[in-house]
């Protein structure tokens, strides 16, 4: 009996155990079921989502920076190009003790105080996680030395980059401008133009000059490389590759050799020169002296150089062609003559008697002619040839300021020419309305007198005067001056020429323009104010000299250049065109503090014309203080 109970108990025990084991099995099945459900959820229902996540994990889109477009002159000479070089770069966020690291680097690589200063400046201008250049253009030796020691410098790396180079350096600085690091303002602008994506990876952008104006042409299209990366961000392999499209090549109307000759012709003088083909508005030379080294800006300029450039009395950063505003002086006279003829204020033959000064009726104030004692009997032709002030004082007063304003503005005075550069100034062409607005003052006849000879309120830029001279040379058919001639598409190699349509036709009276042009030719002939300009030239030159006063003269005081500080001497102007009968080139020269236009400015214009029309290379200009005998004999080169 007892045995049976025990047996029964045992059976019950087994039963109870198996029941619990069964529950355990059910529990296990439940757990496996939960897992199964989870797998179905992750791998079947949400597979697309996790697939995307995995792809995003592994695929990194890297921009490939396009090569910036080249800039060539009209004959294919390279004015701006790229070359590849190595830079040493530091990511500040990855470096704990920056000064020590830089000091250590300096033991391997030549790091000048200038480089350190520039780096500091870069640092303040950029985010900490960006890589910043401390040295550019490393030598092969420096690259090798650093590569061997790289393990010591986490956060420091050598990068291969394309550099912009301007072979003509300071000679084309004002024309080409320069590229510089993209800053916040540039970024905002790109964002506004929806261009930010195309600039991924691009560090530089055109800041001034043509580099800025034609940024969209030059930049190109950024390529894309889809790269598989590991969790550390290292590229493992390339998945897809969309090559970048290089920027387009700009072919300028500039003639680099002409530009070079013009630069040299200036010697040590400051000033500006513009040469334009009057038949189409192509700018052949665009010179603003002195220039500056644009490469200083490409790498990010350091404080010292920046200060030096900014505080120099020579104002090398000032683009005189585009932004310099000067009194036109007597160069305005041919235009005044045309105005007088237009309004019938004077007939060509109508002569005045010049006593050497002009007085307004009812006033005793004498407006002096540049020639003491006057020019005697002066008609319009002679007034231009001898640059008679008295004649133009009277003409201006008789025309009235508003007529002058209206007529001269047709030639583009007081307005921007619309050249393909940013930052042009518009000069100043005064009127009654302008004076009222500006000074809340009435216009007096006395104001008009000085406007008649290009002084007083009126101001022009060399570019304006050049465009006006070209229009005059082209008998009133005007073109917008432009620097770009053709664009060569980098992808298709197709060249698209810029359309050369006249901007306006002043419909000048043929007899009037003929007379004025003949008078301008006579200016360069014996008896004129710029005889030196055409001496021995096998073609005829039309021109007009001008002198822009820098300091005012008191009544009765005599101008004596030798007594004046050099920077207070008059600016010299010369406007010209040649050949006079069928002008192919208009040249305007401004020599700051150069004195009389015929003496300093005209010979510079002549050298430019000689080269352009005859292919003649001028003899080298000698620096001040060197006698011809000491000068090395340079062989003229010509092609």
């Amino acid at each position: 009996m007892k045995n049976r109970v025990e047996l029964k108990n045992h059976q019950r025990e087994i039963f109870n155990f198996r029941l619990r084991l069964f529950i355990g099995m059910g529990f296990t099945l439940l757990l496996l079921g939960i897992l199964l459900a989870r797998f179905v959820y992750l791998q079947a229902m949400r597979h697309d989502y996790y697939q995307t996540m995995a792809e995003r994990n592994r695929i990194s889109v890297m921009p490939i920076i396009p090569n910036r477009g080249l800039i060539l002159d009209r004959n294919g000479l390279v004015l701006a190009h790229n070359f590849s070089g190595y830079t040493l770069e530091i990511t500040p966020s990855k470096v704990s003790d920056l000064p020590t690291v830089i000091n250590e680097l300096a033991k391997l690589i030549d790091i000048q105080p200038r480089d350190r200063k520039r780096f500091k400046k870069l640092q303040t201008e950029s985010h900490n996680f960006e890589t910043l250049m401390i040295r550019s253009r490393l030598t092969d030796g420096e690259v090798a030395r650093f590569a061997a020691q790289q393990y010591r410098f986490p956060g420091v790396e050598i990068k291969a980059r394309l550099f912009r180079e301007y072979p003509y350096s300071d000679k084309t600085a004002h024309l080409l401008g320069y590229i510089g690091r993209i800053n916040q303002a540039d970024e905002d602008k790109l964002d506004d133009n929806d261009q930010l994506a195309n600039y991924r990876g691009t560090d530089y952008i055109g800041k001034t000059g043509l580099e800025q104006f034609y940024e969209t042409e030059l930049h190109g299209t950024t390529g894309i490389e889809q790269v598989e990366v590991d969790s550390a961000g290292r590229a493992v392999r390339v998945l897809s590759h969309t090559p970048p499209i290089s920027g387009n090549t700009l072919i300028l109307s500039i003639d680099a050799k002409l530009q070079d000759i013009a630069e040299q012709a200036f010697g040590d003088y400051r000033g500006a020169l513009v040469a334009i083909d009057p038949r189409n508005g192509e700018v052949l030379a665009f010179v603003s002296r002195p220039g500056y080294d644009p490469s200083l800006f490409v790498d990010g300029i350091d404080e010292e150089n920046w200060k030096a450039l900014n505080t120099s009395l020579d104002h090398p950063l000032n683009n005189r062609v585009l932004r310099g505003q000067y009194p036109s002086g007597s160069t305005i006279k041919p235009f005044m003559a045309l105005a007088g003829l237009f309004y019938h204020t004077r007939s060509p033959a109508q002569a005045i008697s010049d006593p050497g000064f002009y007085t307004l009726s009812g006033s005793s104030h004498q407006y002096r002619d540049w020639k003491k004692g006057g020019h005697g009997s002066v008609d319009m032709f002679k007034a231009i040839v001898v640059s008679c002030d008295t004649y133009f004082y009277g003409l201006a007063v008789d025309m009235g300021i508003d007529n002058i304003h209206n007529y001269l503005s047709r030639f583009g005075f007081g307005k921007k020419t619309g050249i393909d550069l940013e930052g042009e100034t518009s000069g100043l062409l005064p009127s009654q309305e302008w004076k009222m607005k500006r000074f809340k003052q009435k216009w007096y006849s006395g104001d008009t007198v000085s406007v008649g000879i290009g002084q007083g309120y009126s101001l022009v830029t060399p570019l304006q005067l050049a465009a006006a001279t070209a229009t005059l040379a082209n008998d009133g058919v005007g073109y917008k001056p432009h620097l770009l001639k053709e664009v060569k598409n980098s992808a298709t190699n197709q060249i698209s020429k810029l359309e050369n349509k006249p901007e306006f036709d002043l419909k000048l009276d043929p007899a009037s323009i003929d007379m004025v042009k003949r008078a301008m030719v006579a200016v360069t002939q014996p008896g004129g104010t710029a005889v030196a300009a055409s001496a021995g030239a096998p073609y005829s030159i039309g021109g007009k000299t001008g002198t822009a006063q820098v300091v005012g003269m008191k009544q009765g005081e005599k101008y004596d250049a030798s007594k004046l500080d050099e920077r207070h001497r008059d600016h010299a102007w010369f406007i010209s065109f040649a050949p006079a009968d069928k002008p192919k080139v208009a040249v305007v020269v401004l020599v700051e503090n150069g004195g009389h236009g015929g003496g300093v400015a005209a010979p510079i214009a002549r050298k430019v014309m000689d080269y352009y029309l005859l292919g003649k290379i001028p003899a080298p200009v000698l620096p001040k203080g060197i006698k011809p005998a000491d000068a090395p004999q340079l062989e003229a080169e010509h092609d």
């Binding site: 025990e13 109870n16 155990f17 198996r18 619990r20 084991l21 355990g24 099995m25 529990f27 296990t28 099945l29 757990l31 496996l32 939960i34 897992l35 199964l36 989870r38 797998f39 179905v40 992750l42 791998q43 079947a44 949400r46 597979h47 989502y49 996790y50 697939q51 996540m53 995995a54 792809e55 994990n57 592994r58 598989e228 990366v229 590991d230 969790s231 550390a232 493992v236």
Partner: protein, 365 residues
């Protein structure tokens, strides 16, 4: 003896179905490891060595009659406790936890020993008092469990503590702990949850928080979970193909030869592969249940049941944490993750199962 007889004698105590299921998992282990380690034969060979050593131990244990096994229970348990106290006093700290003990020749992790030691001790205890079980015995058994669990939780090694608790609880459960007590304990556990929370280490809390929202800290604490889920999810139905897992081979998966090896497998073999793996696990577990159901003594029933259920728990916890439904507690995928200790512990357990299965006939006769 003929060669055949020798072979028979050698294999007499091995359970073929169980061995077959395990072998499939081991093959999966080596294959996946080769992929996870970026084609490292070294790793595969090292794991093969782990398996080989483990199988030898399994063979030895499987051939041990049960009373030998029972006799080891107390010494193993006592040794384990001594070592755990040693760890608490002289243990080496790594990653903010004191788990390792340097015993001169090697550093060991005594908590691993207790994975076998605790259920063995408890089963031994119940066997000893089989005929006169009362609530007092359950309380003592529970204390036998809580002592090492407490020491391990203090290290702190929450994952191991919980898993040993589970294996001990399975013994209590199978030993017939009354439903009422279990219900009471459950209520008490829920009620004490806030207290438990306050006792957790910061990193453990983070892991639990991240479970509910891993995106909170995608590059920090949630990274493991997110990358694991991405690997599993992106595997899809058929997987990316063997050796083609991007999460694996581009280094996005952490711990991919050990705790996260399931993500590697899952990414490359997909839902279909997962189903096959679950099926194999189910087969092995089922065989364990069959052995348990047929076990002849109280001790062997409790032992076999605990081993089987613990094995199932390991598999569930690991796959659950990799696929983002459980916090990351540092549990390897049984028989698949790389690692000698866990392989050895598991194979010792399976050796006991085989011993239980193959020695009962002898007992009967």
């Amino acid at each position: 003896m003929t060669r055949q007889q020798i072979w028979q004698k050698m294999t007499a105590h091995l359970d073929l179905p169980l061995l077959a299921g395990m072998a499939l998992l081991m093959v999966a282990s080596l294959l996946t490891l080769y992929s996870a380690s970026d084609h490292s034969f070294e790793r595969v060979m090292a794991q093969s060595a782990n398996i080989l050593v483990g199988l030898c131990c399994l063979w030895v244990v499987a051939n041990l009659p049960l009373h030998y096994l029972m006799r080891t229970a107390v010494p193993i348990y006592v040794l384990g406790i001594v070592l755990l106290i040693g760890v608490a006093l002289f243990g080496e700290i790594s990653h903010g936890a004191r788990r390792w003990l340097n015993i001169g020749v090697a550093t060991i992790q005594p908590s691993e020993l207790m994975k076998v030691g605790v259920p063995l001790m408890m089963a031994w205890y119940f066997e000893k008092y089989e005929t006169s079980l009362s609530l007092k015995n359950y309380v003592v058994a529970a204390l036998l469990l809580l002592l090492p669990v407490g020491l391990i939780a203090r290290q702190p090694d929450l994952g191991t503590a919980l898993l040993i608790s589970a294996s001990g609880f399975y013994v209590l459960f199978l030993a017939g702990l009354s439903w009422r007590v279990m219900g009471g304990l459950f209520v008490a556990a829920v009620a004490s949850a806030p207290l438990m929370w306050s006792m957790l280490h910061d990193y453990q809390r983070h892991r639990i928080e991240m479970l509910f929202d891993p995106t909170q800290d995608a590059l920090g604490k949630g990274y493991h979970t997110i990358q694991g889920m991405i690997a599993v999810g992106s595997g899809g139905i058929l997987g990316k193909g063997y050796l083609n897992g991007t999460q694996t081979h581009l280094d996005f998966l952490p711990e991919r030869t050990t705790d996260f090896i399931f993500a590697v497998y899952s990414e490359e073999f997909g839902l279909v592969g997962n189903l096959i793996l679950l099926a194999i696990y189910f087969f092995v577990i089922s065989r364990g249940f069959v052995i348990t159901a047929n076990a002849s003594t109280y001790f062997t029933r409790l032992m076999a049941g605990s081993i089987t259920l613990t094995f199932a728990t390991y598999a569930f916890v690991n796959m659950g944490m990799v696929s983002g439904i459980l916090p990351i507690v540092g549990v390897p995928l049984p028989l698949i993750s790389y690692g000698g200790t866990s392989m050895l512990t598991l194979l010792l357990g399976f050796g006991m199962l085989m011993s239980i299965q193959t020695h009962k006939k002898l007992v009967k006769s």
